[in-house]
């Protein structure tokens, strides 16, 4: 009976790639905390996971290589949204440093957890292959 790697790993690879993208996005937000007119962005992780598992219905169908997706989607149809700022600011920057730090920390912990679970799955597969 061949081992089906997709069903053995479940939705962990998709979760991992989404976590990596969110880490990048939050790092960009933290880097641009002082840039005038920069708007802070984030993805809704739960919605994006559900969308990644269900077949795509939300992204536009492209029939030509030059067709573009709508401006606020990342590759793969993930919707990137803007954060609502808590305070007005003179220079148009909406990044809240503390909020971004908290979001980045929690996302990093969950990223690490996903990696640990994936590693556990691989070890389970390895022990099954070795017959222990």
């Amino acid at each position: 009976m061949p081992i089906n790697l997709d069903s053995a790993l479940g939705n962990l690879p998709q979760a991992l790639s989404l976590r990596a993208r969110r880490t990048e996005l939050l790092a960009s937000n933290m880097a641009n905390v002082d840039t005038p007119n920069y708007k802070s962005r984030d993805i809704d992780f739960n919605t994006a996971m559900k969308q990644a598992q269900a077949p795509h219905q939300a992204s536009l169908k492209v029939t030509h290589a030059g067709h573009l997706q709508p401006g606020n989607t990342m590759a793969g149809g993930v919707q990137v949204m803007y954060r609502i700022p808590n305070q007005p600011s003179l220079d148009g920057n909406t990044v809240d440093g503390q909020l971004e730090q908290a979001a980045f920390s929690s996302n990093a912990v969950q990223h690490q957890a996903t990696l640990t679970f994936l590693s556990g799955r691989f070890r389970g597969l390895l022990s099954a292959i070795k017959g222990e």
Partner: protein
């Protein structure tokens, strides 16, 4: 996995904040210097940041920071009546720099905080990438 872009983003932010710290240091150093005319007086300098997006169409929201340039504050240089000063003009006034020490301290605290945050971001993503290398062990 494109976590490697974070090194570029965080690195650019650290470089921008260190430039901001440099201009703050220059301003604080020259806060007490005087000159004979308003044109020669020291003006406070501030860097101007801009975000550089990776893709034009907004599909890739990664944005690193770029310093567009350093501008000089256009606030008027305060003058002081000091006829004994060798740099005084004909009426006896010297012109001080327009550096506001409180502004510069706030800038310094903000720049050092941002710098530390970006170092943390870089450390965390480096650890995550190293964890990937250890998958399955």
């Amino acid at each position: 996995m494109s976590l490697f872009d974070i090194f570029n983003v965080a690195g650019s932010a650290m470089s921008a904040q260190s430039l901001r710290l440099n201009t703050t240091a220059s301003n604080m150093a020259n806060a007490q210097s005087v000159a004979s005319s308003p044109e020669e007086a020291y003006r406070a300098r501030q860097p101007v940041f801009a975000a550089v997006f990776k893709s034009l169409y907004g599909n890739d929201p990664n944005a690193s920071v770029k310093v567009l340039g350093v501008t000089e504050s256009q606030a008027p240089a305060p003058q002081r009546y000091d006829p004994g000063n060798p740099l005084a003009n004909e009426e006896g006034y010297v012109f001080l720099s327009n550096v506001n020490a409180v502004d510069e301290m706030a800038n310094m605290i903000s720049a050092s905080r941002s710098y530390q945050n970006n170092v943390e971001v870089m450390n965390t993503s480096k650890q995550l990438l190293l964890s990937v290398l250890r998958l399955g062990q």
